[in-house]
Subunit: 397 residues, 2 copies
């Protein structure tokens, strides 16, 4: 049995090497950039009017002039006008080029217009005011977004701005989700008294889909010969295999032995943690295999603690560690890392974790009340109210 | 000009009334439940073995017996066995029904098996240990998930468990995203010197898509006649219209007047906030209209502060307020709510907000550095390090 730290390190040192694919801008959200994004021109590309009003040369205002003849209108999306009479002004619209011969913009709120003349009604003016100067945000060639960045809406705005209608991103691995366990029936079936419906596969498919990963669902009966045959085919067709069930000490827990038969190298089996102790991890030349204990909370913890970060790291992203503050004492004496389910609240910028104690690791309904797991280290046994611990969040805030 | 509070209240009092649609379980993530979800049977539906081992009657152990003849094996997914000899034991597998005539499970780790007999090697035993008792998680008919709940992976697990392969959810409104502004060209086009590419529409489409809302993109040139005609058609075809640009004081800012012509009732125009002051909101019998200022940061703020919560409230969800702690003093003197862009870090359960000051509200690249906006109220002018304020988060943590 290895520690949570050792398990994490082994998983993180066996990452997937993604290929590069091209996506349309509107399909790119949730993917990771496989190219650096640079400014294709200056931003703004010209001295950009930032307020509707008039543009003048500030020096004239400094010299005492308040009244300016309006020479024309500079619209957004129009070629740059040139002020012919240097003592006049130009009406200007937000987003327009600042007319040549002017350097400052005064808002309509601060002028009066009558008979083709604008009179300024304020006493102070800063040169370049209300002008968003060329290249102040970025100069042509500047690095705007680094490779390996997750594309969210903020990145989409910048990608659109620099003309990236098609974007190189990392291709997500193809995943097979395989449940085992003879007690499991389909969601649409009416279970017999001793049966339950499959839930893990759907949870995993949904969680993968949130990361833009396609997961295909399989179920294999607890029959050694059949399982060996089916898994052999699946290993050939997928980059990642996530199994649930069959990894513990039961008489039909064939998974570790069959993976061994199929030449999948075991990197670890059993982690000093609760829930999720029987977790198995390994790989062969083509496929990374996560074999999770079958109870729903163990599956969910292992996915969020280990598999999700593995996907992110495989895309080159650096996870941001989170933490939360316990709002109640917890005692846990076993020499295991205890992942306590917690409900989160925000109070004045503090992230408060209230333990939601379930009735056992099979208690799926308990996940509904909680927002994440608090990682309580094995070296301690008393976890005090007010202390902060690492948080594995599964509900976005 | 109205306050941010008044604007929020007006928007929240004009919600969309969604229809109900049915989705497949694997397509339901991100939607909001339109039905209460109840337990279709007890959970667990039987006294469930929670560890691989043997099942016995605890009273025998209490009476001093340590050796038990193994009468058979109770597998998961098999009908319930009955212990014939009440002094014997049954091997049991995780997930199986607890055999009749037994009440407690001892793990394989805590027994030795030889010649068909199991000898218990521990000194203490609790009755019902390692048994997940029938109905301890939920009894048949119990409410598990309330209507209006957002479906995430935790909910998917429970929906699968209770056999909901098809689920009633609220249908998201149909949204038209309309950009205006003659300076804007397509992402795939090479802009002339005085032009820029459209970014807001793609940002909005992505942000809507994150909420499972389909947004169709339109662009309308700054020509009054044409805009009136186009908007008239769009209003008839969509539940929601999000416009960007054309709402300020410029000579081509036709949007408010044209919406008025088209009998869209104005509920407010101009909010005492920075950025996003010219924000316009209104509706007619069929369509809710959000007309946002065209600069990217204003659009982004208005979407995250007003439109996203409007969608959530329309689905019956109750937003969870967030807050973060300023890590630097900010001075802001104008009598406006100031939405400061901030970068977030977690330190020991504290959510710390570091201001990321842009070079103006047009600075889209600045959004990349930040994770959200901190809402600094208009009644104050000095915002001190260590104080906490409401947070509008646009990057999931």
């Amino acid at each position: 049995m290895i520690s949570v730290e050792e398990a994490t390190e082994l998983i993180q040192s066996h990452l997937y090497q993604p290929k590069i694919v091209v996506k349309d801008l509107n399909q790119s959200s949730g993917h990771y950039l496989a190219e650096d994004i640079r400014a294709d021109r200056d931003f703004p590309p010209f001295n950009r009017v930032a307020m509707d009003g008039i543009a003048i040369k500030a020096a004239l205002f400094e010299a005492g002039r308040r009244e300016f003849t309006i020479e024309g209108i500079q619209y957004a999306g129009a070629e740059c006008l040139i002020l012919k009479d240097p003592t006049a002004c130009m009406e200007v619209m937000t987003g327009a080029m600042l007319p040549m011969g002017t350097d400052s913009v005064i808002r309509f709120e601060d002028i009066e217009i009558k008979d083709g003349k604008a009179t300024i009604t304020i006493d102070q003016l800063k040169q370049h005011q209300n002008v968003h100067g060329r290249a102040t945000d970025a100069a042509k060639g500047d690095l705007l977004i680094e490779k390996n960045t997750l594309i969210t809406t903020a990145e989409i705005g910048v990608l659109a701005t620099v003309g990236k209608s098609r974007i190189e991103v990392y291709e997500m691995p193809k995943v097979a989700i395989v449940s085992t366990g003879d007690e499991l029936v389909k969601v649409s079936e009416q279970p017999k008294e001793y049966q339950i419906r499959r839930s893990n596969s759907h949870v995993l498919k949904g969680a993968l889909s949130d990361m833009k990963v396609l997961g295909n669902i399989y179920h294999i009966a607890d029959n050694e010969e059949n399982m060996r045959h089916e898994l052999s085919g699946i290993l050939e067709s997928y980059d990642v295999l996530i199994l649930t069930g069959g990894v513990s000490k039961g008489k039909k827990d064939f998974v570790p032995a069959i993976l061994d038969d199929l030449a999948v190298e075991k990197l670890f089996h059993r982690v000093a943690q609760k829930p999720g102790k029987p977790f198995w991890f390994g790989k062969n030349n083509t496929t990374t295999v996560f074999a999770l204990p079958g109870n729903p909370v163990s599956t969910y913890l292992c996915f969020n603690k280990y598999i999700k970060p593995w996907f992110k790291s495989s895309m080159g992203a650096v996870p941001k560690p989170l933490s939360a503050i316990l709002d109640r004492d917890i005692t846990f004496k076993a020499p295991l890392t205890y992942f306590a389910q917690v409900k989160l609240t925000y109070r004045l910028g503090h992230l408060i974790a209230e333990p939601v104690l379930g009735k056992g690791s099979g208690d799926l309904a308990n996940l509904l009340q909680a927002d994440g797991f608090l990682e309580l280290p094995p070296a301690e046994t008393e976890f005090k109210k007010g202390s902060s611990y690492e948080l594995i969040l599964y509900r976005s805030i």
